[in-house]
Amino acid sequence: MARVRWGMVVDLRRCIGCHACAVACKAENLTPLSVFRNWVKIIEKGRYPNVSRSFLPSMCNNCDNPICVRNCPTQATYKREDGIVMQDPHRCIGCKYCMASCPYDVRYLDPLKGIVQKCTWCVHRVDAGLEPACVNACPTNALIFGDVNDHESRIARTLAANAVQVLKPEKDTFPHVFYIAGDAVAMRTFGFGEGGE
């Protein structure tokens, strides 16, 4: 039987930009204030009256070729066999080089503990046979989690049936968060600082 390789699909046809995944993550992992394991980027584009909005939930891509793991001087961050990039809170010295190396800004220094943390796909839930908290909470079922190597799983069938994109493929980290119907403008990085409503 093929090795388990977890993956996440974000179906942007279903996403309503409601931040429930971000709040579910804070509730499940008690992520401190001012730092985020996941968040929902919202952009507005076009000229009046042809204006539209796009949402982009972002989280650690648990990459297959993670730069963060390669650059960590103490191997405090390491990739598990099933693809989840873990953080060893006892070994991490908080040098933040993994944060400097990750192209997606998904790592943070925990202001209360002085170690770096990240989204680990709620590994304590996955190991207990449950979906990550954000997947469980999403009101419109836009997040799909599962074993991409298992052809019968919903995620494998979804990946087979839909064109998907990843963020910054050119960085060769082989991200495992796959976006369906991504908006190229929202997936681009630009501008300095947030616009705000």
Binding site: R13, R14, G17, V23, Y48, N136, N141, S153, E197
Partner: protein
């Protein structure tokens, strides 16, 4: 549960969840039961103790499961058995835990020692507090019970009973601030209080002023099915003056000038009738007006007239009308944007008419009637008060579903309403009502309001001005029983049960009402003789045989919700005994409006002042950002961290003309007030309109709501970063005068004319 390997469990959970390829309308969540209903400790991985209940953060009442570790709630998740939200929650439902354990909660009863609003309090025991309140209530009970004025919020199950038992007609609900106009329109037209849009199976969804991607009376249940419907090919068309998240993702968005939705809807109705695209069967058999008469009435609503007033091109209105009439099944959805105007009732009547004309009433994928269980009320029911509500004197308002809460404080100020005792139950009028300076002025005036008791969970802007404050428990600490409209059209019952003991000395709202009734006596105690809240609920569900057979309250305590396992949705239910209206039909024509001096057929009444725009004038609309609620969200740091301040949206061309850039400070002036806040220059708003969000700008509600960091045992409170960096927003309500829809009595939130000027630095 047998030991499934980790992969099988997730695969099975997911495999049965099924909706894979686009186009499959199978509700992916219906078979989620095996997956949900479990949660494990973050550290030990051991299962957490689940207690099912109902969310109290908004009227949708989604089923939740509170997970506990050593009797402390550590996580709130959705209850997968709930047929409305299928185990899913929105951001606010998930953040309810921070309301429960908020360090800003009121811990004990308090009495003011300084002047009102000075913030000097003295702690009281509950007995002392009850004694003083009882004394004040007894003083008026005998001769002028109508001197008791009660304002209640979301949880007002027993507050109206208390008012009637006491003999006062002056009970006002916060629901009036929102649902009054739409509920009145639906009640008069079809005898129901809400339209259930069966979106998962709709093929065309026409949206007037709703923002389901962010808000909505039944937010999660509705938006979940809206998305399933869209993935099965439904088209979503939205009319909204600004690019809300819904408008921004709609297939077509038409920026519309505020208060003109009714005219656009009537112009569409005119097109449908003239082109003969209406459903002959429904129009001839179920409408209480002959088509010829209706057609003649509608003829005045030409595309040119609609374009001139609304700013939406006549050609678009015509095309959308034809699409709506020729795509089946279809339904409208409508929200605050359509009804929170001085012509809100007429607008909602026009929108309802569109569904009737096209035969989409109560069909699969259409504009359905609510399926709910009627919950019995324990006897003896208190008699109706002898005196009439002072605010319901003119004929039109007699038809309203709610008494106009927003008129309470102007009426007290003008002497139309004599107040001896004011009780605010989870109703933060000083913050949620229009013209906040007027409200504050009245609340501070001891001549106008001799005694004010605020029953609330937080020291809200209103409680801060009260004489006495009673700490109310949250929904996670109290009982409740609900049968919300079923979005899969099979009624069900949801239980709200305490998941933990009340924090501090807080007492659930209902128990305060029961205790007060008992202590005041003099007949007030009789309608409260049902015993405890559990007894109340047992009686409330007693007439539902299936539930009683399944185990009644004990079943609900274990599963949270009950639904008839074999029942299937039925359609065109009006065909059995007709509509719940005097004529038994869909009442397009309302004779009772004649004597109230209001048009009997759905009519467009221009909102005074909104038809012409002088050089510097704009219409101010307010909206609720998705992540916040009027009040209960601000104390949650997780929610406030995401949305904590606001700005005034200004159309880019208009802003460039006035040399305003995003971030510049702008002064917004209305006939009743002025505020200064940042500008948000955007392409996404109609040039004659400016928009400001509500939900922020708290000056009460505690430190988290005000964005103030502080030391506490929880390290997070000193990490509250947004207050210093962005401020906590500016509340727009001081700009909004009290104006009321003459029929529905609802507040016209979205009709305020303002001017905007850049602040010269």
């Amino acid at each position: 549960m047998n030991k499934l390997t980790r992969r099988e469990l997730i695969k099975a959970g997911i495999a049965t969840g099924g909706a894979v390829a686009a186009g499959q309308a199978v509700n992916a969540l219906a078979q989620e039961a095996i997956q949900g209903g479990r949660s494990v400790s973050r550290t030990a991985g051991t299962p957490r103790f689940p207690v099912p209940s109902a969310c109290g953060m908004c009227s949708a009442r989604c089923g939740i499961i509170a997970y506990l570790e050593d009797n402390i709630v550590v996580k709130i998740e959705g209850n997968p058995r709930d047929p409305n939200n299928h185990g899913r929650l929105c951001a606010r439902g998930l953040a309810g835990i921070q309301v429960l354990y908020s360090p800003d909660r009121l811990a004990f009863p308090m009495k003011r020692t300084g002047a009102r609003g000075e913030g000097k309090w003295q702690r009281l025991s509950w007995d002392q507090a009850y004694a003083e309140v009882v004394e004040k209530l007894k003083a008026w009970q005998g001769n002028r019970p109508e001197a008791l004025v009660l304002l209640s919020g979301l949880d007002d199950l027993l507050v109206s009973r208390l008012a009637r038992a006491y003999g006062t007609p002056h009970w006002f609900s916060s629901a009036a601030l929102t649902r009054a106009n739409k509920e009145t329109a639906l009640n008069l037209t079809m005898g129901v209080s809400v339209d259930v849009n069966h979106l998962a199976y709709a093929k065309y969804i026409l949206n007037f002023g709703a923002n389901p991607y962010e808000t909505g009376q039944y937010h999660v249940p509705l938006v979940q099915r809206l998305i399933d419907g869209r993935l099965s090919g439904a088209k979503l068309v939205t009319f909204d003056p600004r690019t809300s998240n819904t408008a921004g993702k709609s297939d077509e968005w038409f920026p519309i000038r505020p208060g003109t939705d009714g005219l656009v809807a009537l112009a569409m109705a005119n097109v449908i009738v003239q082109l003969g695209l209406y459903d002959r069967d429904f129009v001839e058999n179920w409408m209480n007006v002959p088509l010829t008469l209706l057609a003649a009435h509608l003829a005045q609503y030409t595309l040119e007239a609609a374009e001139a007033a609304s700013g939406v091109k006549g050609a678009h209105i015509r095309r959308i009308a034809i699409e709506f009439a020729t795509t089946h099944p279809a339904t409208t959805i409508s929200g605050g944007g359509a009804s929170l105007h001085a012509n809100g009732v007429q607008t909602e009547r026009a929108i309802a008419l569109l569904n009737a004309l096209t035969g989409n009433i109560d069909i699969r994928g259409g504009y359905c009637l609510p399926r709910t269980y009627a919950l019995a009320e324990p006897g003896p029911l208190p008699p109706d008060p002898k005196v009439k509500n002072a605010l319901l004197v003119d004929r039109a308002s007699v038809l309203a579903s709610y008494a106009p809460s927003q008129q309470v404080f102007p009426a007290i100020r003008d002497g139309r309403l004599k107040c001896g005792v004011l009780m605010t139950w989870g109703h933060n009028a000083a913050y949620t009502h229009p013209n906040t300076s007027l409200v504050a002025g009245v609340l501070k005036d001891e001549r106008l309001v001799p005694f004010h008791v605020a029953v609330d969970t937080f020291l809200t802007e209103t409680a801060a001005l009260a004489d006495m404050v009673l700490p109310a428990a949250t929904y996670l600490e109290s009982w409740g029983i609900y049968s919300p409209p079923a979005y899969d059209l099979v009624p069900f019952v949801g239980l709200q049960q305490p998941v933990v003991k009340p924090q501090g000395e807080a007492v659930p709202f209902h128990n305060i009402a029961i205790e007060l009734a008992r202590r005041v006596g003099g007949g007030l105690e009789k309608p409260f003789a049902f015993g405890s809240m559990e007894d109340y609920i047992k009686i409330a569900i007693s007439r539902i045989e299936g539930l009683t057979r399944a185990g009644g309250l004990d079943y609900l305590k274990e599963h949270g919700v009950w639904r008839d396992p074999v029942a299937q949705p039925e359609y065109r239910t009006y065909e059995k005994e007709g509509f719940n209206t005097p004529s038994g039909q869909f009442e397009v024509y309302l004779p009772q409006l004649e004597e109230a001096g209001q048009p009997t057929l759905p009519t467009y009444i221009p909102v005074p002042g909104l038809t012409e725009f002088y050089e510097e004038e704009f219409v101010l609309i307010t909206y609720m950002p998705g992540i916040l609620a009027a009040d209960l969200a601000a104390p949650s740091a997780w929610l406030s961290e995401i949305t904590h301040d606001n700005a005034v949206w200004i159309n880019k061309e208009v802003a460039e003309y006035k040399l305003i850039r995003t971030g510049d400070l702008v002064t917004v002036k209305s006939p009743v007030g002025q505020i200064t806040l940042k500008a948000h220059v955007t392409q996404g708003i109609e040039p004659h309109v400016v928009a400001i969000s509500g939900g922020t700008g708290h000056w009460g509600m505690g430190r988290v709501a005000r964005g103030e960091k502080f030391q506490s045992s929880d390290g997070n409170t000193r990490l509250i970063w947004w207050g210093e960096k962005h401020g906590n927003g500016v509340h727009p309500h001081s700009l909004i005068p009290v104006t009321t829809d003459p029929i529905g009595g609802g507040q016209a939130w979205l009709d305020t004319k303002v001017t905007i000027e850049k602040v010269r630095r």
